[in-house]
Amino acid sequence: MLFIMVANLSSFAQIKGDEDMARDERGKYIYYEVVNGTSAAADNLRARALEFLKLKKVSNVKSANEQITASGKFLISKTAFVLTHPSGEVLYNFYFEIKGDKYRFWLTDFSFIPYKRDRYANFVPATTKSLPLETEPGKLNAGEWKSYISVTNKQATAFAADFKEFLSSARKSKVQPKAKPAISTKSW
């Protein structure tokens, strides 16, 4: 039965190359995936999705009209050799819907907020207004902007993988670890 369940579970994700993200009908970047053949009940899936979003600390979670929506952000860090620090954050909107034995979810409306160092040498948002990821950056910043899109794609892919795994994993009770017996040095 488990084999049949796994065999029937297929997903189609619109994922392109490492640096390319798909766009929707609005021309906005999107990570979109449909998962077929799920055997879990719709209520169960919805509850698990909400629990996942709570664990991920995603904000503005709303559940209405068969759709769950939420808002979140990915932190972008620049790492080169031993240097690493936050360089910005990418905001996104999350959508989740269930239909019959399949569900779909997508992340879209990506927008970027650059970080800068403040007077205490901490990295903070340089602005409160985010820039849509679809913005043309111009030649001078094209390379850096392309890397932001690439990293966003990777983070969205990782988010999706975590989400699907969470929804598909059966609930297991926490196994209490056995206490190790104390070693007696008195008798041997």
Binding site: K57, S77, L83, T84, H85, R117, R119, K129
Partner: protein, 355 residues
């Protein structure tokens, strides 16, 4: 190494971006290393070193700003920050030599920030050490300012406040800081920890943040108690337009001078690569019996400074072309023939790299 090769290598190494897990809870983070480097050219049209605000003071010379390195590490609820700086801007221009001990009189400790923090809860944290000042709009690091030259308010105010402070976040819109501090700009306080400081942070609307600051105390050797009241606020009107305001009043008791002033900042980002900014400032040195001459402004006199700066960004590199016009109420500047004059103007071009 040639400058072009340096920047090429830096650009290649910095172009690799990796993601980090988003987390709002206290966890260990890898050691963060960041910094900046800057250089500039300035030309005063009277061919004199006229405008006396901080940094960018060399006339008709390709000169150094500073190289600055900051380390930050968080483990659980504790974190530390250490920031070192080297160069004219990062040493004599912004931090004291030594700790007042004669043996260290020619020693720069190179320290801009050195402090530890502990987050007791999500709302309450405490920080102690040597920190950049919480007062004012502009900062020492060139990456933190839109304009390359600085305002009279910045030059006349505190640069660092060593001490211990507590921060409490009531809500995303309101936070408070209170603390006890050393005298301004010293590594060691000669007359004991004698300053009280506080900051109220409010965010009345999305994109708008205001800081109300107060710092008061009697510095070692000072003729009176000095108190500074400062308003620093910025409003991101749209994704392109930003407005900033800094207003401050500093008074030393018993008619020992002080200053007051205000600076308005207007910035427009025409593209992601190019922005233009205008700074208009009015600054006055108080006309007390024992008034102070601050950045060339004598007691009872004032100056109006208009600065127009561009920011051309290419990755981590920012070019800042700038023109500035200062007009004083008294002839505090010099013409080329050494005659006193009330006005001065200068052009500068700076290159600032943030990594």
């Amino acid at each position: 190494m040639k400058l072009k090769s340096f920047f090429t290598i830096s650009a290649i190494s910095m172009s690799a971006a990796t993601y980090a897990q988003e987390s709002t809870s206290s966890t260990s983070s890898p050691l963060q290393i960041s910094g900046s480097a800057d250089t500039y050219y300035k030309y005063d049209f009277a061919k004199k070193q006229n405008i006396g605000t901080s940094f960018a003071n060399d006339q008709n010379s390709v000169s150094l700003g500073m190289i600055d390195l900051a380390l930050k590490k968080t483990t659980g609820k504790a974190s530390f920050v250490g920031e070192l700086s080297f160069g004219p801007r990062g040493q004599a221009g912004s931090i004291p030599n030594g700790d007042g001990d004669e043996l260290n009189a020619d020693n720069s400790f190179h320290i801009q920030n050195l402090y530890a923090s502990y987050a007791f809860t999500d709302k309450l944290s405490m920080t102690a050490g040597y920190m950049g000042t919480f007062v004012g709009y502009e900062v020492i690091a060139p990456t933190g300012n839109f304009n390359y030259s600085t305002s009279y308010l910045f030059t006349s105010g505190p640069f660092q406040n060593a001490g211990i402070k507590a921060n409490y976040v009531f809500s995303p819109k309101v936070a408070v800081m209170v603390g006890l501090f050393n005298d301004w700009n010293v590594y060691k306080d000669e007359n004991g920890v004698s300053h009280f400081g506080a900051q109220l942070t409010v965010s009345p609307a999305e994109g708008w943040t205001a800081y109300l600051n107060v710092l008061t105390g009697k510095s070692a050797g000072a003729p009176g108690t000095g108190s500074i009241f400062d308003l620093t606020t910025a409003y991101q009107v749209t994704e392109k337009v930003k407005i900033g305001l800094n207003a401050a009043d500093y008074t030393i008791s018993d008619d020992n001078g002080g200053y007051s002033g205000a600076a308005l900042y207007l910035q427009n980002a025409f593209t992601t690569s190019f922005s233009l900014g205008l700074r208009g400032e009015y600054f006055k040195s108080k006309s007390d019996t024992n008034g102070l001459t601050l950045a060339g402004v004598t007691p009872g006199e004032s100056v109006v400074a208009i600065t127009v700066s561009g920011n051309v960004k290419a990755g981590g590199l920012t070019f800042i072309p700038e023109v500035r016009f200062d007009n004083a109420s008294s002839p505090q500047f010099l013409k080329n023939n050494l005659d006193p004059t009330k006005s001065a103007s200068q052009f500068s071009l700076a290159a600032v790299y943030a990594f």
